[in-house]
Amino acid sequence: MASKHKRVAYYPGCALEGTGHAYDRSTKALGKALDLDLVTLKNWNCCGAMEVKNVDPKLQTYLSARNLSIAEDMGFHTVMAPCNGCYHNLKKAEYDLANDEASRELNARLSTKAGHKTYQAGKVETIHALDWIKDAIGEDGLRARVKNGLKGLKVANYYGCMYTRPRHIFPEKDRGPESESTSKPHFMDDLLAAAGAENVEYPLKTACCGGAHTLSDSDTSTKLVLNLLTTAEACGADVIATECPTCHTGLEMHQKRAETVFGKKTTVKILYFTQLLGMALGLSARKVGVHENLSDSRGLLLERGLQ
């Protein structure tokens, strides 16, 4: 049976238009290389990230509900968000609209005043870029298409916070070996292994990078990131694979900050999983936006024949 995820609505979010542009570029390039159809949501708005919920969580629910209603209007049952923050917020909105009367009321009130359809829970499913590749292509599909395997590249898979927590907004997770695990996620590990990477045992897969306070409490973020980086190095990783623009940029920024401000230098490289998969499929480093990353991993990739 053909996967229902061959053609999905695409919600890039603000970060992918800014500091996370390499993730946007590599996600699109990967989709193209795998004959998957991404249709960008028309006139989307910000999901509220980590900030709007601190004004009122119900406002964040409205912001995400507006995006879900756009997907519905465009005739989609599935929206794919590569950013953990966007993914988390859409999932949270779906949960709250299904379970919380006050959230439903505010959504109805704001949608009506804003002049668009009120999104009702259950119409559109939100998936992450990992679910998208895992479902639409799968490990076997990837293995069959790999041209330039990642052989020899040791990867620490880093998922961050918003992909798995809190558990109750991800009802499809923790449903047995085929599903994603919230305590020890493995979808990225599975895909990168199929592309020929050697995954290292990384105990901090779901530890926090301090992304919410990356600028407002920089010293805390630098401590948390440095712990992620040095642990990855101790585990023998050449690369930390990421699947969230906030984590990715946080790791890059605070790797540099740890070096310039605290004199702690680490050399592990940071790449989006979509960049690694793209290169394994034979796309050039430039096609997947490696030059747009804040950290420079071109040397390592050249050394490993990935360029």
Binding site: C14, A15, E17, G18, T19, N43, N45, C46, G48, A49, M50, E51, V52, K53, N54, V55, D56, P57, K58, L59, Y62, L63, R66, L106, R109, L110, K113, A114, G115, C161, M162, T164, R165, P166, R167, T182, C208, G210, G211, A212, H213, L215, S216, D217, T220, S221, L224, E252, M253, K256, R257, E259, T260, V261, H291, E292, L294, S295, D296, R298
Partner: protein, 248 residues
């Protein structure tokens, strides 16, 4: 309730007698160390209700003090004084004065949701941290902390245009918190990036900061959100018994 967290025992509350004999037993020195007993009379009886009235604090009453939140906490691991279980205890007991000792670190919650994941009672400890930080600020116990300034700069831009542009958020945040934009580590990052990016890409980035991204036809959403935010702020202030005008 037993106190497991040693950092909660403050040196000034410990009493040790250099020379003490009890019933003929010499208990001098550390053998006689104990925590001084005290009588608390200045409870703030409405503290829990006030926190519960703010967004995120709604379920604080469910807490049974198991400590799973503190055990799971990202920030507690790097600063033992950051202790959500203890703060929830203080709030529920109305021990405002004790809570105020930690007023300058409560804002540091990084919203990793490890506590929410671990909590067996669905207290939503992360929400309680946000509500408490908000309460401290509304009551005038602290100035707006950097995270609150960031939230405001960010949320205002989303409410105004439907989208955010990171460069603009960063600039406004540094300006509002009185920090220089050209921090050594940021400059080092940008230098590295500029040396690798093609001119066309740099131009695109530059243009994005001039022509801010926005959601079209956002005006009605902006008005609806603005109206609600005002209502929310008034409700929060009323719940805390504050004047409606925000004068404090």
């Amino acid at each position: 309730m037993p106190i497991h967290e040693k950092s909660l025992i403050r040196p000034e509350n410990l009493v040790t007698h250099d020379h003490l004999e009890l019933d003929g037993v010499d208990v001098s020195g550390h053998w006689s160390t104990f925590i001084e007993s005290r009588v608390v009379t200045d409870y703030n009886e409405v503290l829990e209700d006030e926190i519960a009235a703010l967004p995120g604090g709604e379920f604080i009453h469910r807490c049974w003090q198991c400590g799973s939140c503190t055990n799971a906490c990202t920030v507690n691991a790097i600063n033992p004084d950051f202790n959500p279980r203890y703060w929830i205890y203080l709030i529920r007991m109305g021990l405002e004065e004790e809570l105020l000792r930690d007023k300058d670190i409560i804002w540091q919650c990084v919203s990793c949701f490890k506590c929410v994941y671990a909590c067996p009672r669905d207290v939503n400890p992360e929400g309680v941290m946000k509500a408490t930080a908000h309460w401290l600020e509304l009551k005038g116990h602290t100035e707006p902390k950097p995270s609150a300034v960031f939230d405001e700069v960010f949320a205002d831009q989303v409410f105004a245009t439907g989208k955010i542009e990171e460069g603009r958020v960063l600039k406004q945040f540094f300006r509002r918190t009185g920090q220089p934009l050209f921090q050594t580590w940021l400059v080092a990052l940008v230098r590295g990036l500029v040396s690798r990016l093609p001119a066309r890409m740099l131009m695109r980035l530059g243009l994005a900061t001039l022509f801010h991204p926005r959601t079209s036809g956002w005006g009605r959403a902006r008005a609806a959100i603005g109206e609600y935010v005002e209502e929310r702020e008034a409700a929060d202030r009323a719940a805390l018994g504050l004047e409606a005008d925000g004068a404090n």
